[in-house]
């Protein structure tokens, strides 16, 4: 059974003649432990696809099976719960909390999951050590470089041992060298068995991933 199965999933904004079909009915699967890129130009629907996968938005039609469970039509509370425990999200502009230390940033998803305080801190320190920031736990994001910030964000995404890691243009704000380093981290994660789905408009990364899902005008044109 595939980790992720999208069955005729679509997203329409508005209704009637002015309706915008951000995502046309799409059916696809993602297997566990693969590194997938969602590729497309801007406005192709790749971000909508990511919002669907990350349960940030509700599909207009279709079903979304995550580990066999249909999560397409759930209450906001239930979706929040799944975002918390099953999904790790990484953003283009990192979205770290500027007033908190990076340790606190990594702790945040664990707070929402109700993890015990000591366990939370231990795990956050462990994750930050793993991404090479073990000696800067008390630093604030503003004291770090972009690449380091994205490493913090990756550590944060891993906090609750998610089923799938989603990355929205994770290298978009980084220079090429630093971007490649981040891709390198993703490779490590995939090698450990994680599933990483990365949204990108950069064709360069095609060769880095195991599978490309290409979108064009809301249609899946390649998978």
């Amino acid at each position: 059974m595939s980790l992720i199965q999208l069955q005729g999933i679509s997203r329409v904004y508005g209704s009637g003649p002015t309706a915008v079909h951000a995502l046309r009915p799409a059916t696809l699967c993602v297997e566990e432990g693969t590194f997938v890129a969602i590729y497309g130009a801007s406005g192709s629907g790749k971000s909508t696809m990511l919002n669907m996968l990350g349960l940030l938005d509700e599909p207009t039609t279709g079903d979304y099976l995550l580990e066999g469970r249909n999560v397409a039509k759930l209450t906001d509370a239930a979706r929040s719960e799944i975002r918390c425990r099953e999904v790790g999200i990484i953003f283009q502009s990192f979205n770290l909390f500027p007033h908190f230390s990076i340790l606190e940033n990594v702790c945040m998803p664990m707070r929402f999951a109700g993890v015990d305080r000591h366990e939370m801190r231990d795990r956050a320190a462990e994750l930050l050590t793993r991404v090479g920031l073990g000696d800067r736990l008390a630093h604030s994001p503003s004291q770090l470089s972009g690449g380091q910030c994205q490493r913090v964000a990756i550590a944060r995404a891993l906090a609750n041992k998610p089923t799938v890691i989603l990355a929205d243009e994770p290298t978009g704000n980084l220079d090429v060298k630093t971007g490649d380093e981040i891709i390198g981290v993703f490779h490590e994660l995939v090698a450990e068995g994680h599933t990483v789905i990365m949204v990108t408009h950069n064709a360069e990364y095609e060769k880095e991933v195991q599978r490309v899902i290409e979108l064009h005008d809301g249609n899946v044109v390649r998978q």
Binding site: L56, S80, I89, N95
Partner: protein, 406 residues
């Protein structure tokens, strides 16, 4: 979510927007300060007026003889007026709720001590006057005038401590004599009124000379006094029936006195009237406080809406990481309540200072009661909840993707 997290995140947010937060709090601070200050002034006034009334004795009914105005007598000259000995006898025997009837009669006289004249008020007082006026025998060697002094017509007097200083200076007054109107009295005691009360609010109790009531009546004839009693204190047994007793006295006096030659005052009724006035005052205060806190609350709502607008992306991120709506709601509500709560604490502090300032500059008594502090803090926290709910609700219901887009 833990309280610790809420505290920390609130603290960071307030620290980050310190000046703005302070400005937002200002409304609540001033509102609460005004409430605490005004309540302190009104409480001071209340306690003072009640104390003033209490000094006259809440369980007393006080009758006062008054010379009727010429227009009331039809131009006729009146020689005798006021409460009579018959009235006093009636009060003593015919009213069941009465504990003591204490007549007092006085007149300003030139009193000679050591051959030196001094103008002092000479009072003929029932021996119970000592207790009813809450005075005491100041010198343990001496004594207060007694019932027996009246029966035996003893020529003795007790002197108020201030009158004693006027009459005798620094000499020991005990055993000395004073003469007045051809009669000589031996000073057997000193009277002190620790509250510095005034008889009927006019005559300083510590500054008069006291002889037994019947003795005074026997020395001065009625032509000199014109009254048989200037004041009659009637002390009741049961405060619950005080009004009833007062009404019966009013009815009796209305039936026996043709002319309006007396007044009746009931401190307890004054006290009740005073308390009613205070209630009106409290309502006015409450309205002012409500308005200022409303303004303060709107300030808080404004700042919270601005905060949320500014932190939309942060809220989106929190939601993307799995924060529930109620987590966001709690966090922003907590922030609003912290703002108003802090404003309340600051306001109470400033209110204290205002109360102190008024006390020392305007010479008005002010009392900050724990109750007013509790009310002020409760109301400021309530303000935070009321005005923080809408912004927090808005934050909690932001769509995660739209919030993230910013």
């Amino acid at each position: 979510m833990s309280l610790f997290y809420n505290l920390e995140s609130t603290w960071l947010s307030l620290k980050h927007h310190a000046f703005r937060s302070l400005l937002a709090m200002l409304g609540v601070v001033l509102g609460v300060a005004a409430v605490v200050g005004m309540l302190a002034v009104s409480e001071g006034a209340r306690v003072e007026s009640i104390e003033r009334i209490r000094r006259q004795g809440v369980d007393n009914i006080i009758l006062h003889s008054e010379e009727p105005q010429a227009n009331a007598t039809g131009g006729e000259n009146i020689y005798y007026y006021g409460i009579t000995s018959e009235d006093i006898a009636h009060f003593k025997t015919a009213l069941d709720n009465v504990k003591k009837v204490v007549p007092v009669v006085g007149l300003r006289q030139t009193i000679y001590a050591n051959g030196r004249p001094t103008d002092v008020v000479l009072v003929g007082a029932d021996p119970e006057f000592l207790n009813i006026s809450r005075s005491e025998n100041a010198d343990p060697r001496g004594r207060w005038i007694s019932e027996l002094d009246g029966v035996t017509a003893s020529q003795v007097c007790s002197v108020g401590v201030d009158a004693a200083r006027q009459l005798f200076g620094l000499d020991d007054p005990l055993g000395k004599t004073v003469s007045v109107y051809g009669a000589t009295f031996e000073v057997v005691g000193l009277l002190n009124n620790p509250l510095h009360s005034k008889l009927a609010g006019k005559y300083d109790i510590n500054n008069m000379v006291y002889v037994e009531y019947d003795t005074l009546l026997s020395i001065f004839n009625r032509d000199a006094l014109k009254v048989e009693a200037d004041y009659v204190y009637i002390q009741v047994q049961d405060l619950d029936y005080l009004k009833n007793t007062a009404d019966r006295i009013r009815t009796y006096l209305a039936g026996t006195h043709e002319l309006p030659d007396y007044t009746i005052s009931v401190p307890y009724e004054l006290l009740l009237a005073e308390q009613a006035t205070q209630r009106v005052f409290a309502v006015v205060m409450g309205s002012i406080a409500a308005i200022s806190l409303l303004v303060g609350g709107i300030g808080i709502m404004n700042i919270m809406l601005a905060n949320i607008y500014e932190r939309t992306k942060e809220i989106g991120t929190l939601r993307a990481l799995g924060a529930q709506r109620r987590t966001i709601l709690t966090q922003f509500l907590f922030e609003a309540v912290t703002l108003t709560g802090l404003g309340g604490v600051l306001g109470v502090g400033i209110g204290f200072l205002i109360a102190l300032l008024i006390k020392h500059t305007a010479d008005m008594p002010t009392i900050v009661t724990p109750g007013s502090v509790i009310v002020a803090l409760t109301v400021s926290i309530m303000t935070g909840i009321i005005f923080g709910t809408h912004p927090a609700w808005k934050a909690a219901n932001l769509s995660p993707i739209e919030a993230l887009r910013r």
